[in-house]
Amino acid sequence: MAERILKFSDAIKEATDQMLAEDKRVYVLGLGVPQGAGGTTNGLHEKYPGRVLDTPTSEASLTGLAVGSAIAGLRPIVHHDRVEFSLLAADQMFTQAAKWNYMFGGGNPVPITIRIVVGRQWGNGPQHSQALYSMFGAVRGLKVVIPSTPYMAKGLLIAAAREPNPVIILEPRWLYGTKQDVPTEMYEVPLSKAKVVRKGKDITVVAYGDGLVSSLEALDIIGSKASVELIDVVSINPLDIATIRKSVAKTGRLLCVDTTSEAFGIGSEVIAGVMKTQTLKVKPVSLACPNVPCPTSTSLTEFWYPTKVDIANKVLSMLKKGGVKQKLSFEELHLAPSLTLK
């Protein structure tokens, strides 16, 4: 079949469109969704009147309403434009939606999908660029996924919207402009499974979201110098540690890439999960952001996120091979990528 290259944001929109068409119970709620929500919902309010709704600037209440309607049998897709905004609805997500079925002894599904954008982007600073993955990973009763490509974005959203449980999708805005060949038809990407993206035998690299894309680019830098097995975490709640263990059993080396602070990071959780059952050839490494808030000045954020060069060099040094020298341009460091992924 001919390739069809779609942007990350368009892939989300297509999945939303198809879900609205497939299931009358699905509706979309969030501030600004009729106007587009970053190009992920625009036009849909005209196609599905009364089912793509703007809201007051009231995250707690709109999320709670969506949870309540899910309990009653609808299938809302809620959109929050940043993690920080969603925190105003923390009770509704973490304590209501996540616990409802369990605390009533089952039989009380909460089929809600909450799309939350993670705000890595130039100029966003301490209050607009937190990822807070670990917070979402720590709450029992939620399913939490992080799409890393347009293909994943579409398939995960469809799986989430068909799921009888509360699913949080943490979407890296950094990736909204990336492109990929995406099938036209509906398909699901399983919610609770990690994915081996590239097979290899020397070292296992575990990454997610924006870090997964940087890792893919790092593989190009590494070339034939090392055989890397790259795993996309995909699901941080629950964490599919079995897939990672299987890979590490083969490679004996583990590098985790985190695009948030190291403390309580996904890397720490993966390393703990692996080390409980396995012995490695070299110490595991977590390549992560510093344990301070993300500042605004580009002269500081330059050092905040691990780059493709950092990842490549860490892989090479863990294999006792010489590193590469490559200076990244301002654009590469600070502007969101628009590359086409394989």
Binding site: T55, A60, Q127, T296, S299, L300
Partner: protein, 329 residues
């Protein structure tokens, strides 16, 4: 008599000229920032304040230098109106180490305690309880000062804001909540966000607070109402809400006059209600020579351009600065 009234008139004119100068300062600052933004020199999310100047200046003029103000994501104007330093502001926007927050915060995080601008935060609604907390301290330590919080119609829909009206009323805090109602929350129109019959006056008064609505395009109306409210707050510690009806002249966070979503507040309407232009007209009508106003604008612009030139030569923070300031000593 005639002499006295002329004197009074010229005193009034001076007050007005001062207010105009402040508003013009905000306007010219924003215009210079627009050029800069379009040249892709600013890597900090910027929300332009053009069109809302009469609110920041009208309210701040009703306060004393010891009173405090706090703001939101759109706070360049709130900060400058409090006597803020444009040079430190532009250094912050350019991420330089001599900016207001050493480059760590950026455009959405104005702070300058030397002029009692106590901080701004882009998390909508958060400023309401924070300002109430500032007022709590003012009352607790019997300072006799007040705190004013600036936020928009969007932010005013957050649950925490309604909770704060109750709390501020309960503790009788010296706080003035200033809502800049420009009818938009990013691109969501107020009529798509409010229940039919929604009545903020009734809501606020239902909490026992004082409510006033002002024409936010008119310096006089804002200032007169703010002054009366602040006097009331000082006299009886009854918090108040001042809702100012304004126009956001540009798009939410880009300096474009994006028209797609703006059927109600058209470009024509916005220009017709331009607070700076209208105050200039009033001054000219009262006899101030137009030449004087033009010279004033040129002077402000030149001074700001020299601040920008200074900022462009200012140093960036060093890598080690990443690790400083997380905790206080």
């Amino acid at each position: 008599m005639a002499v006295a009234s002329t004197k009074k008139k010229s005193a009034q004119e001076n007050v007005l000229l001062k207010a105009y100068t402040h508003m013009l300062k905000l306007r010219v600052a924003q215009q210079e920032l627009v050029k800069f933004y379009l040249d892709k020199k600013i890597f900090s999310m910027v929300h332009f304040y053009i069109g809302q100047e009469a609110v920041a200046v009208g309210v701040t003029d009703a306060l004393t230098p010891n009173d405090k103000t706090m703001g939101n994501h759109r706070s360049h104007g709130h900060y400058l109106a409090k006597g803020g330093n444009f040079r430190a502001l532009i250094c912050e926007l350019l991420g330089r180490s001599n900016g207001l927050a050493k480059g760590k915060g950026g455009s959405m995080h104005m702070i300058d305690k030397s002029v009692n601008f106590a901080g701004s935060t882009p998390l909508l609604g958060s400023v309401a309880p924070l300002a109430a907390g500032s007022a709590f301290e003012q009352k607790y330590n019997k300072r006799g000062t007040v705190t004013a919080a600036f936020y928009g119609d969007g932010a005013s829909e957050e649950g925490v804001v309604y909770e704060t009206y109750n709390l501020a009323g309960l503790y009788k805090l010296p706080v003035l909540f200033v809502i800049e109602n420009n009818g938009l929350s990013i691109n969501s129109r107020i009529k798509d966000r409010r229940a039919p019959g929604y009545d903020l006056k009734k809501i606020v008064e239902g909490y026992g607070l004082t409510y006033e609505r002002a024409n936010g395009n008119d310096y006089h109306d804002v200032h007169d109402k703010a002054r009366a409210l602040v006097e009331g707050i000082r006299a009886n510690h009854k918090p108040a809400v001042l809702e100012c009806m304004v126009y956001r002249h540009m798009a939410h966070s880009t300096p474009l006059t994006e028209e797609k979503y703006r059927n109600d507040d058209t470009l024509e309407k916005r220009q017709q209600h331009d607070p700076v232009k209208n105050l200039a007209g009033e001054l000219i009508a009262s006899g101030v020579p137009e030449k004087k106003l033009v010279a004033l604008e040129e002077e402000l612009r030149a001074s700001m351009q020299s601040d920008i030139a200074f900022a462009l030569k200012s140093p960036y923070p060093k890598k080690k600065e990443l690790y400083t300031d997380m905790y206080s000593n």
